[in-house]
Subunit: 323 residues, 2 copies
Amino acid sequence: MATITVPHPLPSPEEDAKKLRKAFQGFGTDENAIIEVLGHRTAAQRAEIARTYARLYGETLVEGLRSELSGDFLNAVILWVMDPAERDAELANKALKNKGDWHIWDIWHIWVIIEVACASDPDHLMAVRKAYCSRFSSSLEEDVASRFAHEQPLGQLLVRLVSSYRYTGEHVNEGLAQSEAEELYDAIRIPHHERVIRILSTRNKSQLKSTFNHYKQHYGKAIDEDIESSGSSQFTSMLKVAVRCIGSPEKHFAEVVRSSVLGLGTDEDSLTRAIVSRAEIDMKQIKEEYKNRYNTTLNADVIGDTSGDYKNFLLTLVGSADP
Amino acid sequence: MATITVPHPLPSPEEDAKKLRKAFQGFGTDENAIIEVLGHRTAAQRAEIARTYARLYGETLVEGLRSELSGDFLNAVILWVMDPAERDAELANKALKNKGDWHIWDIWHIWVIIEVACASDPDHLMAVRKAYCSRFSSSLEEDVASRFAHEQPLGQLLVRLVSSYRYTGEHVNEGLAQSEAEELYDAIRIPHHERVIRILSTRNKSQLKSTFNHYKQHYGKAIDEDIESSGSSQFTSMLKVAVRCIGSPEKHFAEVVRSSVLGLGTDEDSLTRAIVSRAEIDMKQIKEEYKNRYNTTLNADVIGDTSGDYKNFLLTLVGSADP
């Protein structure tokens, strides 16, 4: 469930656009007004406001925001006003173009690829792939395949996940779930990468959730934990993320937020990505998971690790402290 | 270029629907009228006629056709009035559900999978995947992956091809084309399947055509011929089909038609598929290729191997004997 709130009655797109324009003008910027408007509108409403703003003032809303805001606050607001498919295409491209050797901490950059592929619905992924082609003159799977050409089977896993278009019905074949739970159990141990990749990248999500349930019942251990204990390669690590994003995305995103605030300094890019991407999808479940797992609230961690308008904006998106 | 012709002025969808209804009624069926109407309308026009027919007569056009026609003529007309994406989804599913061991002659059934994946534009392939999920409660790549789970690397090749969404721009990186031509040359010989699959399933078509040109220039042999001489496995055979469907689909479809009429009896399914699928795309080029390659015309072979209304219908779709 979403955590953003929309006022009733809803101001018209013209009123919102005017309020934003006013917030940009004069001496200083009225950040609170920007948060008040944009932080309380759905993706469709934000798109309508952006169209209206451009029509009224001859500059895009993003140009207006860029001229007035800066830093993490700007980055978060820009991602928030982008069309969700365009935003994911942008985030995926940024992760792929992050040059240099991959160290253990770099691996977080790959998470976004798996999130886009596994934690959203198939039509959204298709829209992301279209947006990616339009923006970057190459396909998403092409850039993933080139980037990881020499890192197999990780590259194959990622390419197959971003290329998927899963059936979205509820149809589950219990017999198949049982036999593929066994297949996964063996494949993780041997390891038979092709089998694991085939099952995770092609089966529909209801089917896979049933497979994961059979796994836990039969082997007494959740598949993601079992994968974790089976090895520490990048492949195993990403396999675990894929299983989480498919079966229980709230667990994965709670971990993204938690990792971003732990340790020295904050990983604002990851924190922003998790909150902006999920505020309209399942932030309520993420906050519940966060509370159960870390004995603190997501809101408390955001307050502790961020400040100023950036903090206010994120808190607006995640809603009240009580999940 | 297409070979079907549309009359000017064009009758309204109501007139066409009425003419079809009349053709279905009374003593005997007026097959010529059916061919006259449907054989001279574009996909969009046929869809409009079907909608109008259903609205006017309370039965679908397909139901009307099924009650009056039979055999190869019926099959061809049904495929022709289907939405092209639905048609390809149907053809792919039929090929995948063709049970039994794969013998050398069965391999033709797989061609359709590669045709759908490589010989049409990326948005069409996406539409086929959507239609496939709606009709069959599973995804195209899921059924391909399951069907070929134990036939690697063929399964991987097919899954990656049907999952592709290629960039459609004209942008070509000549340096990359040169280096990937070399990579393909080595990969075909070693063989490094993953490399071949990565290049063929992710690069855009303009890029691949340039790569194939570099290949021919540098090694003095077209890549499809080189693949053919490198082995006779199902994988090599399908790799050749993929290269053809990407680089010069008219060569592939000329071969489909020629294979379907050669030998004892005719493979009507393949003949119908090739003509119905390509009549609005590149049948003109296919006929030219046919003439150059086989020293006879496609029309002459259709006349020699088919008869009756089925023959008349196919000849209407392929147009005049002179390519």
